[in-house]
């Protein structure tokens, strides 16, 4: 390093503690890393590892009970921890910017965008007219469509992606030395995420800003960062250039994290996902040896008593593991492989939906949430639903369950029609269709014990009580791998993964025939996600239950699904076996969705970008609804005629004017050049 100018960020031996009930609990334990000017650095780790605490310590926004107990932080050569009131204000105003996960909460809902962006410049001493001028330029810089009209709008009138662009524009107003992005795209659709990430990358190069990128998504980190640090229980356990850390991880935790993620086209019939057993050590416990020893399959006596040093593996790549040369040989968690019988699609489908249409009335407008959606699900199979938000995935699931009645069309169970509303359905029909919700916190009654939750469901759904219910509950609990201890606990006392297991046990209380899984793992960490996915597969193999699986994570959908339906603006654009839909030839929309996903393996997926947002379902485009954003737009036929959903291959349906053979040629050619 011959750099004369100080580095953008230097964190050395940072110790942060939170004071809880009068005791200081360490949250960061001697974290050291630095970011050069214009570089980007990623921090990864599961929730509770201290990623956000590190960011807050750097901007000195720690919560009231948190404080830096040791170490040093310097930004652009200035000691951040020594700043006084005025210095700190100056530091916030000119040197460092932070972008949070939820752009909606970062903007003031009652002020126009223009006022808020101008504020960012006014702080820097710009006059009113100057600030206005520069606001417009700032919005143009973040490539927002129609910037002058955006200035006059309120935050709620913008989509999530646009809001995040505004926040980024404000963060960059001061031309900061250091930009901290804390999960900036986690709440966004993959297509929007891709756009925002591209933008950040481009601006970073233009402005030569150093970026600290915090994410649990290794794909995003791999795309955005030069270097990455892996945090576990407040310890930096591995650090190095992104490619080497992700391709050749040298710490068992990194190895485990990478193995948890369903990727590279793995499917449930290829085998179970690897998981990380055990839990993060509770906040503030004294750890003698390696922080990860308790969960590590390679750990031995030495790991439990002596903390391994942060040892350089190769230049620039360090790992805090005694056995880093053996990390790749970390044994997989032993899970018995199970046999998934093939799905028999000759008989009557378990559930069939016929031309379901749902129109919501909203402020006098008709919002077409679903338009003539048809599909069938056979026992023991998983139908994956994918599409951006607003595509109608959730409405479809809710219509099936009878939570919202369809405007027209019908759902059949075993060939006979289901009443459109759940109130009119028989107990038998209710039992057959159950749901696992996205957010286990709100899905479980926080005043009821797990035992009460399960017994009640057994009573209503299985129609049993007393000792029969007790016995079934024990069986259920064992099946979802909960311990007996959890029975007396209330949801608050359980971790996210355990709560989701309780929710799954509840759904399975009455031996359902079809379970709707609405993003069941998106609120969970990847290691927990893997365990939940394994559980769902096991239950499917044992019970021959069918799933309607909704997820925005295409890797997860692919892992679990037998067939996949791609929805756009309430219409099925493509429906077919999972491998066919993923491997192509795909519908242009599917193609765009797939190429938006940042992959860990790198690779040339960056071929297609969808521009702009999903059009309003209140006034969907004419002809093919996708024509306004279609990368393979043909011409007037797309604008004038809606293509029918036709079976283009065996079991593969698609709604596109381009013949499948042509799509195959086009997509193969691009794959070859990529």
């Amino acid at each position: 390093m011959t750099d004369v100018a100080p580095r953008a960020l230097d964190v050395s031996d940072l110790e942060v503690v939170y004071r809880v009930r009068g005791i200081d609990r360490p949250v960061l334990r001697g974290v050291t890393f630095s970011i050069g000017r214009g570089d980007s650095y990623g921090l990864v780790g599961e929730s509770g590892c201290g990623k956000s605490t590190a960011a807050l310590a750097i901007v000195r926004y720690l919560a009231g009970n948190g404080r830096v107990a040791g170490g040093a932080i310097s930004v652009a050569g200035k000691d951040v921890l020594a700043l006084g009131q005025r210095g700190l204000r100056e530091y916030h105003a000119r040197t460092v910017s932070m972008v949070y996960q939820n752009p909606g909460a970062a903007l003031n809902p009652s002020l126009r965008i223009g006022t808020q962006v101008a504020e960012a410049f006014a702080v820097l001493g710009a006059t009113k007219s100057e600030a206005e001028e520069r606001s417009l330029a700032a919005l143009m810089r973040v490539q927002i469509a129609d910037p002058s009209s955006v200035l006059a709008r309120y935050p709620h009138q913008l989509s999530g992606g646009m809001q995040q662009r505004v926040v980024i524009a404000m963060a960059l107003a001061k031309d900061p030395t250091l930009l901290i992005l804390d999960e900036p795209t986690t709440g966004l659709d993959a297509t929007v995420e891709a756009e925002v990430l591209d933008l950040v990358k481009q601006l970073q190069a233009e402005l030569d800003t150093a970026v600290l990128f915090i994410s649990h998504n290794l794909g995003v980190i791999s795309k955005m960062c030069d270097r990455v640090g892996v945090l576990y229980a407040g310890r930096l356990v591995e650090e190095g250039p992104v490619e080497t850390v992700l391709q050749d991880p040298r710490h068992p935790y990194t190895v485990g994290l990478l193995r948890c993620i369903p990727r590279g086209g793995v499917r449930k019939d290829h085998g179970r996902l690897d998981t990380i057993p055990g839990f993060l050590p509770p906040l503030g416990v004294e750890i003698l040896g390696c922080v990860y020893a308790d969960r590590c399959a390679l750990a031995d006596e030495r790991c439990r008593t002596d903390e391994p040093p942060f040892e350089t593996v190769v230049t620039g790549h360090a790992s805090r593991c005694w056995y880093h040369e053996r990390a790749a040989s970390l044994p997989r968690v032993e899970v018995a492989d199970i046999e998934l019988p093939a799905v028999d699609r000759t008989g009557t489908p378990l559930v069939e939906i016929q031309e379901l249409t749902k129109v919501f009335k909203q402020r006098g407008q008709d919002v077409h949430a679903l338009t003539e959606v048809s599909a069938a699900i056979w026992p023991g199979e998983t139908l994956g639903l994918v599409g951006e938000s607003g595509s109608g995935k959730t409405t479809l699931a809710r219509t099936l369950l009878g939570i919202v009645p369809p405007t027209s069309g019908v759902a059949l169970l075993d060939g006979s029609p289901l009443p459109p509303r759940y109130q009119k359905r028989s107990q038998e029909q209710l039992r057959a269709l159950q749901i696992v919700f996205q957010n286990p916190d709100s899905a479980l009654n926080r005043r009821h014990s797990v035992r009460r939750i399960l017994l009640r469901s057994l009573k209503k759904l299985a129609g049993i009580g007393g000792s029969a219910a007790e016995a079934r509950m024990q069986d259920l609990v064992a099946r979802v791998r909960l311990t007996e201890r959890t029975l007396t606990q209330k949801p608050v006392q359980l971790s996210g993964g355990l709560k989701q297991r309780v929710a799954i046990a509840r759904a399975f209380a009455g031996d359902p025939r079809l379970v709707v899984c609405d993003e069941p793992t998106s609120a969970l960490d990847v290691s927990v996600q893997a365990a939940i996915l394994n559980l769902l597969v096991e239950l499917q193999a044992e019970k021959r239950v069918a799933y309607v699986f909704i997820s925005h994570d295409l890797g997860v959908v692919r892992y679990l699904s037998d067939r996949i339906a791609v929805l756009y603006l309430g219409r099925v654009q493509e429906l077919g076996p999972a491998d066919v839909v993923f491997d192509g030839p795909h519908h242009p929309y599917t193609e765009a969705l797939l190429s938006a996903v940042p992959t860990i393996d790198g690779g040339g997926r960056d071929r297609i970008r969808l521009e702009g947002d999903v059009p309003s379902a209140a006034s969907p485009p004419t002809g093919c609804v996708f024509h306004t954003r279609c990368p393979r737009f043909l011409g007037s036929i797309c604008v004038e005629q809606e293509p029918p959903l036709v079976e283009v291959e065996d079991g593969h349906h698609m709604r596109c004017h381009i013949p499948i053979e042509e799509l195959r040629v086009m997509q193969r050619k691009e794959r070859a050049t990529a």
Partner: protein, 292 residues
Amino acid sequence: MSTLASTPPPLARTEARAARSERLRLLARSPLVVGGGIVIAFWIFCALFPGVVCPHNPIFDNNFVPSQPPSWAHPFGTDTNGRDVFSRVLAGSRAILQISIAATVIGTVLGTSLGLLTGYLRGVVDDVASRFIDAILSLPLIVTAIFVVTAVGNSGRWVVTLIIGLIFTPVIARTVRAGVLAEAELDYVQAARLRGERSHYIMFSEILPNVMSLVVVEFTVRLGYAIFAIATLGFLGFGVAPPSPDWAAQIYQYYTLIDPYWWMTLFPALAIASLVVAVNLVADGVREAYER
């Protein structure tokens, strides 16, 4: 069943207890709450055992020299009928506590039920009930109470209790309804519907426990208002009739004689003030403890 029951007390129960005791600890740490609690406890004790605390019978010992100012023999003086004011003040808490607690319980039970019904069922029930509630809320409490008492033509203590309880119902219903609206959006309610639970089960077994903290806070706050309202009614001549020793009735009876017989009015008035302030101190503490 027995196998489960015999397992050692799991962590859960102790943790739940810890949360509860944490709340109690919080309450016990505030000197204002403790002070208020002591005052309330004192008045409740007086109400329960007037014979123990009163030096003289508040009604029948009327042979003292009438209209004497405070002295060692009669610390609060004597009234125009020759009764010991000190004894009458100590005994006077009984009626007001009975009425206010009973009225608040009535209002809380009815209000909570109405709040659950309107907040959960929505639709026509909610529209009609909510307009009705809005209408009642726009009326001044005391004036309405007087109006109703006059219209009923009977101002016995149970009539007053019922009327205050009914007047509180809409206030409590509206607070509870707001909490229920938020709860009803949560997925556990949806899950209950999808397993075929009936509405009353969902309202009372699923949602009610989750809005209970609101109900507790509302109860303590309303209790303060109830005491105040009942005292006001008593002062205006409704409620407890003489010769029962009621604070408000004493004030009503003697306030025209305040000059020179100030002790006959002052001490019952201070008693009312002490109880209202004490209840409000505790109510503030409870609200803080629950809203953390």
